[in-house]
């Protein structure tokens, strides 16, 4: 029976959506307070930056690579945003500088992976350590304090700021979903991840594509870090701790194949939504918080196992 399921298009997206729906239904029944508009808005704002990084990670994994340095990049970008702002730069330049800093870090990864042909998992393991320790050395874990008033919410005020973050993430999601599906550049990533040699024969330049993917990952991380930092009046220098595994898990749960060539922004959105709802759901259901990680682990394994089973039975 499972074998027949494999024939369904977007099986993973549907199954994740189903589980998410079940979770939301349980919440609606047991803890209707979850659905209060302002709470949901807050939740969306909180998950916006995770979604953006997870979409970048989807791109990377679709291209058959991986980037475990995004957490460190995220932390560094946040601190850079804070420091640029305290240095008195206008927010526009702060945003630009943050994204540029992310892009530079991503480009470094890209050069090492695509340029030298090194395995991405080891390269990004190394850059993860280097960035994290360098940041710790220079900042000693100190929060960036004394930010000007126009830093938080870009000086727009809370409600407008929240909507800015939500809309920015939504726009990014739509752009990513549309671009990956409907732009030549997006399809090139799928082609390269599916079969780099065939892609070369089709006239694409796989190495260049991989470089750009890492560059984009860095820039996207910078953007996400900025959108996360401006939600607060001070910048936490550890803001990206553990982010890399969180977003990889979200992408994988959402159906992105680690072997490349497969995965959709929609799936990743569902993955982020599912994994991001488990934590709050436990609070609302008054469940013991100590089981959260175990439940997340089970979800990851179950999601991948269902797919593996479906394919095996064919």
């Amino acid at each position: 029976m499972i074998g027949r399921l494999a024939g369904i298009r977007h099986l993973r997206e549907w199954s994740v959506a189903l589980v998410l729906a079940a979770l939301l239904a349980a919440l609606a029944f047991l803890a209707p307070a979850f659905f209060r508009a302002d709470y949901l808005r807050g939740l969306l704002v909180a998950k916006a930056s995770v979604l953006i990084v997870a979409l970048g990670m989807t791109l990377v994994i679709v291209a058959r690579q991986i980037d475990i340095s995004v957490g460190s990049q995220f932390s560094v970008c946040g601190v850079i945003a804070g420091l640029l702002s305290t240095a008195g730069l206008p927010m526009g330049l702060v945003a630009l500088g943050t994204v540029a800093a992310g892009a530079a870090m991503g480009a470094t990864n890209g050069l090492l992976v695509a340029g030298l042909g090194l395995p991405s998992i080891v390269v990004t393991l190394a850059t993860m350590t280097i960035l994290r320790e360098a940041l710790r050395w220079l900042r000693e874990g100190q929060f960036v304090l004394g930010l000007p008033d126009d830093f938080q919410w870009f000086g727009l005020g809370q409600l407008a700021g929240q909507w800015t973050v939500i809309l920015a993430a939504a726009a990014f999601f739509l752009a990513a979903a549309w671009g990956l599906r409907h732009l030549g550049a997006g399809r090139a990533v799928y082609a390269v991840g599916s079969d780099a040699e065939a892609a070369r024969l089709a006239g694409l330049r796989p190495r260049f594509v991989v470089f750009l993917v890492f560059l984009a990952m860095g820039a996207v991380t910078g953007l996400a870090s900025l959108l996360s930092a401006i939600q607060f009046g001070v910048v936490d220098p550890n803001s990206g701790a553990g982010l890399e595994l969180q977003v990889i898990a979200a992408a994988v749960v959402g159906g992105t194949a680690i072997s490349g060539g497969r995965g959709t922004p929609m799936g990743t959105l569902l993955g982020v939504a599912l994994l991001g709802t488990i934590g709050p759901a436990l609070v609302f259901l008054d469940a013991a918080p100590e089981w959260e990680k175990a439940i997340q682990g089970l979800f990851i394994l179950a999601a991948v196992a269902v797919d593996a089973l479906a394919w095996r039975k064919r």
Binding site: S194, D195, A198, A202, G203, G261
Partner: protein, 503 residues
């Protein structure tokens, strides 16, 4: 002339695949290319598509010399090929595969999916395929994937189109449609190189036919000027001097018996044969006839749906290669570098890989025993290697094959299955391997030899099983067989009453 090739020479590892072949193709012509496996057809085609660069010779396109250093260049000049093993993106849809095959779009131009699908649908229809353009390619069967390739090539509007066995896996109706497409393209001025083993279909589509043999051009004729018998005569008659015929001997009792072996997924149906002690059974047939697949079933590399394998009269159960090895069956596979040896590992390590338990004492490796064993085989098989510690990948093809053989001889097997044992190796090494096979058989080993070289089959085998389309078409004695009769059987041309079947 659209394409003119003069004196093309290409060698792999010192083995000459093409020895100064000339070939030409006119616009609006279908030029068939025939020859046995290994005659040099594939290499010639690869020289056209830029996949290999000839060592010597010139290629003229529209009368102007061109260099084809890589497939991309060839594609940009309007040269397309459809291979038997499709090179598609498995994770992408059919429509997208067709679109990408027609060249990558601009990075920031919108992909018009509706247009892509419509175009794919139209092209697939022209290729005579009933395939949903939105289906993922990895869910398609092999023939379906091939049709996608053909549709893609049609869409590319290629000036030169190479079709390598396009009909091998197609059904009758699909073949008819494909021929329609070919005629249409020809009418539009496309030059088509058509490779096929189905000789009966050549008169239907081809204008001219060229036969290759041993990397040399035999002849080029207008299609209507040659009969099927002529074609077979042109193809066969390879150089037999390199074969050391097996000394005839009285075979012993039946060692290996295969009864009704079936695996639908591979198209293997009801394969039966048996091999006696001291006997070499030749397994002849065309590529895709199911010979390698049969060997894989015997060696436990794939599970069979039905069928029995008996060793010395007792049925045995083989679920994995480990079971086969334990039972005394050895298999030297066709793809040497991927399966036969592990190129990164040393000669010694490769030699002992299947007998680790035996060279080791309670699981502990004994380097000296391993080296001694490897050195013994290096000497016995005449492997040319600087030392047994050298990685196998650094040796020539013939020596790699000897190492692969050494690995299995070290297991002291009862049954040895050799899959294309002398493919792509030089004449000297080939002779040595043949002599060795003779020796092994003389010592009571039962050998199954898969080979696409008819002289080799005829020279080495005691009996010959010819496979066609996943079945054993006939089992014949060497005495009664000729190259022509075997080729006719392999082509599915005739089914003479089997002579000298099993006991």
């Amino acid at each position: 002339m659209l394409l003119r090739m003069r004196g093309i020479v290409k060698s792999y590892d010192g083995v000459r695949a093409l020895r100064g072949v000339s070939f030409d193709l006119a616009a609006g012509e279908v030029h068939a290319l025939v020859g046995e496996n290994g005659a040099g057809k594939s290499t010639l085609v690869k020289a056209i598509t830029g996949a290999v660069v000839p060592d010597a010779g010139e290629i003229l396109l529209d009368g102007r010399p061109v260099a084809l250093p890589d497939p991309t260049t060839a594609r940009s000049l309007g040269i397309r090929a459809v291979y038997q093993q499709p090179a598609l993106f498995p994770d992408l849809s059919v429509a997208e595969n067709i679109a990408l095959g027609l060249g990558a779009g601009r990075a920031f131009r919108r992909v018009r999916w509706r247009a892509l699908r419509e175009r794919a649908r139209a092209l697939l229809a022209r290729a005579g395929a009933d395939i949903d353009p939105e289906a993922e390619v990895r869910r398609l069967s092999m023939p379906e994937q091939q049709l996608v390739e053909i549709a893609r090539a049609i869409g590319a509007g290629a000036r030169i189109l190479v079709l390598d066995e396009p009909t091998a896996s197609l059904g009758g109706r699909e073949v008819e449609r494909l021929f329609g497409v070919i005629r249409e393209l020809r009418a539009g001025g496309t030059g088509i190189v058509y490779i096929s083993h189905r000789l009966e279909e050549l008169p239907e589509v081809a204008d001219r036919v060229t036969a290759l043999r041993d990397g040399e051009l035999v002849a080029t004729h207008p299609m209507q000027a040659v009969s099927r018998a002529d074609l077979i005569r042109m193809m066969v008659g390879r150089d037999v001097s390199a074969v050391f015929p097996k000394r005839p001997m009285e075979p012993g009792p039946t060692r290996l018996a295969v009864r009704g072996l079936t695996r639908e997924a591979d198209g293997i149906r009801d394969v039966s044969f048996d091999v006696r002690r001291g006997e070499i059974l030749g397994l002849a047939g065309l590529v895709g006839a199911g010979r390698t697949e049969t060997a894989r079933l015997i060696f436990g590399l794939a599970p069979c749906d039905r069928g029995v394998i008996e060793l010395d009269g007792r049925p045995i159960t083989i679920r994995s290669p480990a079971d086969a090895v334990a039972a005394g069956i050895a298999y030297v596979p066709e793809d040497r570098r991927r399966h036969g040896v592990i190129p990164e590992m040393s000669v010694a390590d490769n030699t002992t890989l299947a007998v680790l338990r035996r060279v080791a004492a309670h699981g502990w490796l004994d380097r000296r025993r391993e080296d001694a064993l490897a050195e013994a085989y290096v000497e016995r098989l005449g492997v040319k290697t600087p030392s047994v510690a050298a990685p196998v990948g650094s040796l020539s093809g013939g020596n790699q094959q000897k190492v692969a053989l050494a690995r299995w001889l070290a297991t002291d097997p009862k049954v040895l299955v050799l899959d294309e044992p002398t493919q792509g190796i030089d004449v000297g090494a080939k002779a040595e391997i043949h002599r060795l096979m003779g020796d092994l058989a003389a010592r009571g080993l039962a050998i199954v030899m898969i080979s696409s070289e008819l002289p080799e089959i005829l020279g080495m085998s005691d009996r010959i099983a010819v496979m066609h389309a996943g079945r054993v078409a006939a089992v014949v004695d060497r005495a009664g067989a000729t190259q022509e009769s075997l080729l006719a059987l392999a082509l599915g041309e005739a089914a003479p009453a089997p002579t000298g079947g099993g006991p």
